[in-house]
Symmetry: C7
Subunit: 94 residues, 7 copies
Amino acid sequence: MKLKPLSDRVVIKMTEAEETTKSGIILTGSAKEKPQVAEVLAVGPGGVVDGKEVVMQVKVGDKVITSKYSGTEVKIDGEELIVVRQNDILAVVE
Amino acid sequence: MKLKPLSDRVVIKMTEAEETTKSGIILTGSAKEKPQVAEVLAVGPGGVVDGKEVVMQVKVGDKVITSKYSGTEVKIDGEELIVVRQNDILAVVE
Amino acid sequence: MKLKPLSDRVVIKMTEAEETTKSGIILTGSAKEKPQVAEVLAVGPGGVVDGKEVVMQVKVGDKVITSKYSGTEVKIDGEELIVVRQNDILAVVE
Amino acid sequence: MKLKPLSDRVVIKMTEAEETTKSGIILTGSAKEKPQVAEVLAVGPGGVVDGKEVVMQVKVGDKVITSKYSGTEVKIDGEELIVVRQNDILAVVE
Amino acid sequence: MKLKPLSDRVVIKMTEAEETTKSGIILTGSAKEKPQVAEVLAVGPGGVVDGKEVVMQVKVGDKVITSKYSGTEVKIDGEELIVVRQNDILAVVE
Amino acid sequence: MKLKPLSDRVVIKMTEAEETTKSGIILTGSAKEKPQVAEVLAVGPGGVVDGKEVVMQVKVGDKVITSKYSGTEVKIDGEELIVVRQNDILAVVE
Amino acid sequence: MKLKPLSDRVVIKMTEAEETTKSGIILTGSAKEKPQVAEVLAVGPGGVVDGKEVVMQVKVGDKVITSKYSGTEVKIDGEELIVVRQNDILAVVE
């Protein structure tokens, strides 16, 4: 069972472990907007969204920084996932 | 008696049973936005909505994740239905 | 004396009797949005509304579900009517 | 002395007498939006309003239903007038 | 010293004297929007404003009705002036 | 060291001295919007701003009236400057 | 490990030292908007953002003034970075 996001939506999963052990990434943020590193699990087809052509710029496997509160949380088969719009993704971590 | 949604609206029905028994899907969410799995019962024709061409991307029978508060509840012939805009549907569950 | 709605507006009348006796339709809704079944009494000509072409999709006699608070109530010749925009009509009941 | 409204504005005057004596029209409304029957006294030229072409659909002498709070009251030569945008006029009463 | 308004702005001056002596105009209004008669002292060039072509419809010397709170007050050489957008001018008084 | 504003932004400096001594200009305003006379120190290139072509209409040396709260204050080399968008400039004082 | 911003986003780093020692720049601001000098570390590709073509006007190494609250803070490899949209950059400091 998996999620197939519509239009410009992206399914991501927080990578909390990496955040504290591997590379020393520490994320700060105000109470209103908590940036986090996440992995992209599924990417919508893009296309015309709200009357505007949207080209998807992230791909499955990308590590991204996004804003927690703009997405919707869902738990599938034990995994906690988040569905965000691509516009809520700030940057790709390389 | 059935609902025939206008423009980009979609009639869905919550599939609560499946949520806890069959596949182990557990949905979480903030108080403001409660994601839920629902089945699509009827799909509007799409077309020009607010001056923009909208192509319907879901079909009858799809299992979808949406946001509860963006739709309107209605009870017809004993069934509790929700009318949402397609844009409120986040993803299709496969 | 009758109402001739402008642009994309529609004059409807609540069909409360049918709601409880004939077909068993029971309408639920949050305090913010109360869906209701209504009959269409008059339909505006559509045309360019807010700079966008609007084609009317409902006709006189249709039973529709709409949101009570988006319309304006008016009493004419003893009948309580509501003037809504077509965009406030969610679905046609068949 | 008279008012010549700009763009899509319309000058109307409430017809309170008719509201209770002649045709039995009784207007109800929530505290936020009070519908009322008014007579059109002057009509703006329409044209491009906020970048969109607006064609005037009401004419002097029309009886219209509008929303009280969207207009601006002005008293000229003893008459209480209201200046509304055409978009605030819901329907013509025939 | 004088003001030369930019784009679709208009410099007006309230004509309070005329309001009570000459023609018997009495202006009423809610606390949120106080209509007033004013004289046009300077008119901006119009042109493209917020991406839309605006043609100026008032000229110096016009008596206009506008909304007090949408403009900005300024005192120059002892005169109290107000800078408004043309869109805040409701009607010309003739 | 100087500021080079982006797009339709303008760097201005309040001319407080002139406000009380030379020409008798006295500026009034509500608590929400304090109009002030300022001198233009630097002008952005204009161009496409938010998808719309913007042509700069002020030049270095112009005395302008603007709204204090729409800009951002910055102190450079002892000078208190303000960065505003051209759209926040109401009029040029001549 | 580095950040690669999407669309019109820019990664900046506050240059606090320079703010008080080298050139005497002192930044003031209201509680809502704190302007600050920052160095540009990475620039997104621009392109179509929200349906509008955006051309990037800043480059890596630029010193810019921006608004703190419009960006998102992130700490990578010990460096505190901020991701802003180019539109939040007010001016380049030369």
